[in-house]
């Protein structure tokens, strides 16, 4: 299993092949349905996002509230295909990659190849394990969306599998 530190450099991205198991450590941002809609509305208006998109890894997830004394509640991946219509645009604007679960569209795969980026699959339904891999969580945008807000997460040894690599290969 490869241990990777985020953000990923181009050499690292090019070394990853669909099916590789990895442990990710570093900073990721959560965003799911409602947050994506807002992100794209802000970009369409030509305004600045309340966080840095360039090089960021977006995790398609909406966490449970943290219990007292814990950094995060359960936080496994949600179904990525609901973000199919947003991902190519964000990749073209500098998004560093995504983590989610399940297949995405052919357009998303093409955008990954075009931008030399990777889509990771986390294990769906392993919410408690992922919650424990989160060491720090902070809401950075759209707090009114509750679990659908954008959270900046510090993760250590977050298990994932390369689902789509930067060469157009797929685990599915």
């Amino acid at each position: 299993m490869k241990k990777l530190n985020l953000p990923l450099g181009e050499d690292t991205i090019l070394s990853l092949k669909a099916g590789d198991s990895v442990l990710l450590s570093g900073t990721i941002l959560t965003a799911r349905d409602c947050a994506h809609k807002r992100i794209c509305e802000i970009l369409d208006r030509g305004e600045k996002l309340p966080f840095e998109l360039e090089g960021a890894i977006i995790y398609y997830a909406g966490p449970c509230p943290a219990k007292p004394g814990m950094a995060s509640g359960s936080c496994g991946p949600t179904t990525s295909s609901r973000m199919d219509s947003f991902a190519p645009k964000l990749l073209d604007l500098g998004l560093g990659g995504m983590i989610g679960k399940g297949e995405m569209s052919a357009e998303v795969q093409k955008a990954l190849v075009r931008n030399k980026k990777v889509y990771f699959a986390a294990i769906g339904g392993a919410g408690a394990l992922y919650g424990r891999a989160i060491k720090k969580s902070e809401c950075v945008a759209f707090a009114d969306l509750l679990s659908e807000a954008v959270y900046r997460l510090e993760v250590v040894d977050f298990p994932a599998v390369v689902a789509y690599d930067s060469f157009g290969n797929s685990i599915y």
Partner: protein, 279 residues
């Protein structure tokens, strides 16, 4: 006539909801353990082991086993010799769910369908009531995640399509869902009834233990054959390819119209959380 205060129902449901959010059902866990043992696909086997490890972590830390703590589906079979007193049943049920989701640190996942504004407390619950004989109340509680709910279908088959049509509807639904609903899935199937009762039967089928068989032989054979065909799809755990795409197929049936054969397929992810109680 037996008087039951709805506050007693609420208290019972509160405990059920708290337990369900954190624990897999014993039959689901057993099916996952058996799948992890037998799976020949390497990545799928890794994912199955991760899922089992996750359920231990959830229990150890009292955390939700999956962050999608679902819409709260409550099915109550109320004996006709029961007289409910106190707060209105629906209000009592929503109160119990509201408290459980706050106290359990569960995710609040219910929103307006148009504005998408979150209701903030995971209410309203989905409450079904049936009037049955006797003076007891049977409560079944199923927190239902939507990654799998989204992959469900209802098809109005022609009577001539028969058993073959039923089986191919079930298998095709799982095939179309692919990796998206968190396989290995459990498949709840409603056969017959009307458009609405068929979907309800599919949901009720998910209350049965994983691996159980319908007492009616010809229905049990449909369950068996559909499961075999699904596990030949090679979708596998998380879509990583493998032998176990479904842990079980549960079918429930009802008489239908001479012109129709409704089939509803309600997909449940590998994270089956279900509690039952009798008052």
């Amino acid at each position: 006539m037996r008087k039951i205060d709805t506050s007693i129902i609420a208290e019972k449901l509160y405990g059920m909801a708290l337990r369900a959010g954190v624990n897999l059902t014993p039959s689901c866990r057993a099916a996952l353990e058996s799948a992890a043992e037998s799976e020949s696909g390497e990545a799928a086997k890794f994912a199955l082991k991760t899922i089992l490890e996750n359920s231990k972590t959830a229990a150890e830390y009292g955390m939700p086993v999956c962050q999608d703590t679902g819409m709260a589906v409550v099915i109550m079979e109320i004996g006709q010799d029961v007289h409910l007193v106190g707060e209105q049943l629906k209000v009592a049920v929503d109160g119990a769910i509201r408290r459980a989701y706050a106290d359990g640190y569960f995710r609040k996942s219910v929103c307006d369908p148009i504005t998408r504004q979150n209701t903030g407390d995971n209410t309203p619950a989905v409450l079904h009531t049936e009037i049955v004989e006797g003076d007891r109340i049977k409560i079944s509680y199923l927190p239902k995640g939507f990654g799998s709910e989204n992959m469900s279908r209802l098809v109005m088959l022609k009577p001539a399509q028969g058993v073959d049509g039923i089986i191919s509807t079930i298998v095709d639904t799982v095939k179309i869902a692919g990796s998206r609903p968190c396989p290995p899935v459990v498949v709840g199937v409603g056969i017959g009834g009307s458009f609405d009762t068929c979907a309800y039967l599919a949901k009720k089928a998910l209350l049965r233990d994983v691996g159980s068989a319908n007492p009616r032989g010809d229905i049990a054979r449909i369950e068996c054959e559909a499961l075999q065909k699904i596990n030949q799809l090679n979708i596998g755990c998380q879509g990583f390819h493998g032998d176990v795409t479904a842990l079980g197929v549960n079918c429930e049936w009802a008489p239908t119209h001479i012109a129709g054969l409704p089939v509803a397929v309600n997909i449940q992810c590998h994270c089956v959380r279900c509690e039952k109680a009798v008052i």
